[in-house]
């Protein structure tokens, strides 16, 4: 194959690319054609013999003009998105759909739409039901979660750090919401005295765990006091 005919194969390819990109506005279209043309020229320099087959293989690696155009046009349609987060959002949407699908399946299979939480330290069993279809973490759902430990396999503890991703779907959104929910439980276990003062009906054990009267551990003292150092628990504790 002569150099002229090899040039012809490449020119044909670039013409097909121009046509495929016809819906792309200038100057983006010319830039793209220019860059791919440079890429082909660079790749061609690497070919030992520049046979027709080598050139065709090279163009196969570059890809079908229609596929390149589809990629470029998809970008044009996305210009309304926030640029720096666009990629991650695409990944998040896909995988969030997987998580929701899997999580819903697992919970439906296990517990007929609901997760039942049973306090492990209480002989008297109280049950907290957390809907799996809630619209997002709120102080109410977080408080519900604090007042009950989940049974295995969804066993978890509030001791230590909870990150925002761990809280989602389990009632609490972040450390702050968790601390506020724990304080809500503590406050509910404060008994007013006749003198108008409050006496704690909760306690903190030697492991730094907050225990309410039914014997249930609701979390670590330190977890609350890191976030709410001026709360009654932390001032009195």
């Amino acid at each position: 194959m002569t150099k002229a005919s090899i040039d012809g194969v490449i020119d044909d390819y670039l013409r097909r690319l121009q046509t495929a990109l016809s819906r792309l506005p200038e100057p983006r279209r010319s830039q793209l054609v220019g860059e791919i043309s440079e890429h082909i020229a660079e790749s061609r320099n690497d070919l030992p013999n520049q046979t027709e087959q080598e050139i065709r293989d090279l163009l196969d690696r570059v890809g079908r003009p229609e596929d390149i155009a589809a990629e470029a046009l998809a970008d044009e349609l996305e210009l309304v998105d926030k640029p720096s987060h666009r990629g991650l959002i695409a990944v998040l949407i896909v995988v969030a759909a997987m998580i929701v699908g899997f999580g819903t399946w697992a919970i439906l299979a296990r517990d007929n739409h609901h997760v039942t939480a049973t306090p492990p330290l209480s002989k008297k069993t109280t049950t907290t039901t957390v809907s799996t279809s809630d619209s997002g973490p709120t102080l109410a759902t977080c408080t519900s979660a604090v007042t009950g430990f989940y049974s295995p396999p969804l066993s978890w503890s509030f001791g230590g750090t909870i990150s925002s991703d761990q809280g989602v779907g389990y009632g609490c959104e972040n450390q702050e919401m968790l601390a506020n929910a724990m304080m809500k439980v503590v406050d509910a276990n404060v008994t007013p005295t006749s003198a108008g003062e409050a006496s704690g009906a909760y306690g903190v054990n030697s492991a730094g765990q907050i225990i309410v009267p039914n014997g249930q551990v609701i979390g670590l003292y330190q977890t609350v006091c890191n976030v709410l150092p001026k709360s009654t628990l932390c001032i009195n504790g």
Binding site: E35, G63, D165, Q166
Partner: protein, 116 residues
């Protein structure tokens, strides 16, 4: 999820992550397009065809995450080099943090663990 959805899923995941892979390749070095595509081709599953990198580079430039400049070459015509911008570095740093958290969360779920 059906098995037939896998290629589409891979395409969507690749599309979401690849611009940050390009920014990561440019984090320490300026590179020209041909060089970038060869580097990316060394990583399985990241690139379907060499040409589809160029619309991506064009987008990165439009978003001011990379900038280009020309440099003489000893082996032919001048080359168009890509360089990460400060905005690009910030976007990459932000992605690295978010990706790490996100990956750990998904791993925890799909590997059968519960929240800790």
């Amino acid at each position: 999820m059906v098995a037939g959805g896998t290629p589409k899923l891979m395409a969507q995941m690749r599309r979401g992550a690849i611009e940050y892979c390009v920014l990561a390749l440019l984090r320490n070095d300026e590179r020209y397009g041909f060089e970038l595509t060869r580097e990316l081709a060394n990583f399985d599953g990241l690139v379907t065809s060499e040409g589809t990198i160029y619309p991506l580079l064009s987008r990165l430039r439009q978003d001011e995450l990379v900038e280009t400049f020309w440099q003489e070459s000893l082996q032919g015509p001048p080359r168009r080099y890509y360089r990460i911008t400060e905005k690009g570095r910030l976007a990459l740093e932000s992605f690295v943090v978010q990706w790490s958290t996100f990956r750990d969360t998904v791993d925890k779920l799909i590997l059968g663990g519960g929240p800790t």
